[in-house]
Symmetry: C2
Subunit: 345 residues, 2 copies
């Protein structure tokens, strides 16, 4: 009930009967500052008694680190970015940082607001998953020399930044290759029509696997549409109609696969007897589906972790001694076998 105010360093100094300087030195454990055991104890006791908590914003004003990084992701209900953020959070926490999670909704106007807001908060660094138009938004981040790492989607206007992403090419390749290894020859692909360039790695991997196996690469087998269940269902029906001879489908996105799976069942197509299915992604329901889906597990958590690690390397690099050449890393996914692929003789 008492109108208690949060204790300041002055209150602690007063109670410990010393100066704020000493309190600051004691609490920051500055080794070069001599403080007698007695006084140190008085300070510590006073701080404990008053429940003193350093004001990060006051100390931030003096050029100290703020202990906060911002992560901008396009959709935080997407399980992929969820796991990604979990990876970021783990590393942040290990460094005693908190993380401000911002959803950009894949909208660069919204993103810009969020970015300015965060800059105003003097965050120590950014983990950025770009959206279209991000490059110009990032100008302030570059100008103010706030450390940042770009994740998952590259900026095509520049190559001068650290980048971590999952290996989309490998994911597309592995999914397709698995079907080929199981004897499939006519394999359809359903993908998302997007401008996000890394994601184009998925169809590229598909092509590469086909080519390597000497299979015909037909544009008829490629279906691209919206990032929606509806598109997945509609295009699946279309694909079946256009290509009565296909034996397998690769779904590049779980959302489309969801619609596709339903459409296949509705058409009376049996999985995997009539059509085998592999999806890129591990949406959590891959094994509840009937039959359980063979899928490519994506390294979302690891991408988050690695991005954060790189960011902290930069944040904690005190001087700008080493000019730091930008790194670009990709992390591969893993094939998880379900029961949606039939082995052909």
């Amino acid at each position: 009930m008492s109108e208690k105010k949060i204790a300041t360093i002055k209150d602690v100094a007063r109670l410990a009967n010393t100066s704020t300087a000493t309190v600051s030195y004691v609490l920051n454990e500055v080794p070069s500052r001599y403080v007698s055991a007695d006084l140190r104890k008085r300070v510590l006791d006073a701080a404990a008694e008053l429940h003193y908590i350093r004001s990060t914003m006051a100390s931030g004003l003096k050029g100290k680190k703020r202990g906060i990084i911002a992560a901008l992701v396009p959709q935080f209900t997407n399980i992929f970015f969820n796991r990604f953020l979990l990876g970021v959070e783990q590393v942040a926490h290990r460094n005693n940082y908190i993380i401000s999670v911002c959803n950009t909704f894949d909208d660069s106007v919204y993103e810009k607001q969020v970015l300015y807001n965060a800059i105003g908060h003097h965050v120590d660094g950014f983990i950025l998953v770009p959206t279209e138009g991000s490059y110009s938004n990032y100008e302030i981040v570059r100008n103010f020399q706030v450390p940042y790492v770009v994740a998952e989607r590259p900026l095509h206007q520049s190559h001068n930044y650290d980048f971590v992403a999952m290996d989309n090419y490998d994911a597309g390749y592995t999914a397709t290759k698995h079907l080929i290894n199981c004897g499939h020859r006519r394999i359809g692909l359903m993908t998302w029509r997007t401008n996000v360039t890394t994601l184009q790695g998925r169809p590229e991997g598909y092509y590469a696997a086909l080519k390597e196996a000497g299979l015909e690469i037909s544009p008829n087998l490629l279906y691209a549409g919206d990032f929606s269940e509806e598109a997945g269902a509609r295009l699946t029906r279309q694909m079946l109609k256009d290509n009565p001879d296909i034996t397998a489908i690769v779904y590049d996105y779980h959302v489309q696969a969801l619609g596709g799976y339903k459409a296949l069942k509705e058409c009376g197509v049996r999985i995997p007897e009539d059509i085998s299915v592999v999806i890129v992604g591990d949406p959590e329901w891959e094994f509840i589906a009937d039959p359980p889906l063979t899928c490519i597990q994506l390294p979302a958590f690891q991408v988050g972790q690695r991005s954060a690690e790189l960011l902290f390397d930069k944040i904690l690099a005190t001087g700008q001694d080493t000019p730091h050449t930008p790194v670009s890393e990709t992390i591969k996914g893993t094939l998880l076998q379900g029961k949606s692929v039939k082995t052909l003789l």
Copy 2:
């Protein structure tokens, strides 16, 4: 490349050839301050030219609002809290606030760290989803009079706080009632053995529905276990063995339902012909399951929204004019019909 520093109000004042006071007044659009059109323009131009961004931490030092709230949730990979956070974010953004999302991992030690950290950042308010032992952790929040709203799980040591949660009792009741309406008489329940008191509303709702229908309430029909797929599977087998006569099962948690669904299929039980199933929760895969699950859609987004609205009511209530009696709200879920329930004659 230039070692550009972020512009301060002084830089703007210098460029506009005026004082920092005027800049501050102009930029804050203080109506009581007279500024000539000419000077105002000079200030605005200077600010734009220098890409001035107000330092939230410096202005925060002067007792201004920080524009940041913290949301502490136990698990942010849980789809429920995801949607919940989306609701919080929506309201926060509408108020021009950013949100710091912190995962407590249902660990009160971790939670305490996060809480102290956030207090040090002088966040303007908290959305708190408690974990066990939270009450004492919240002491600093109470002491420092930082506004907060508790969501989803109540604190049983006090009643003096704002609280928003989904209606677990209603969810349990509605799920069970639906089965009863479809003619089921022997209905099993699988739930999570937890100390989170609100969650006990789910089994209570189940009991209430049975009682209302004059059905036998047998402890044999109640199976409680871990929050895991494995427990869901194991206990489902046990339930079937113990009660050969049951015709339906209510799963209180989607994670257990996942294991349960698999176990049912492995045992050769047909859904819904042999056993009908309703789950509490809408985990995103409810309709990919085979057959699609009848479920209770949880109002996660709305709970997040409402919590944030209450929080902003408190944050924005300038004076402490009205002493504010604590509110406690619950929001009901909705029945979503799948094909996992058979209507008995």
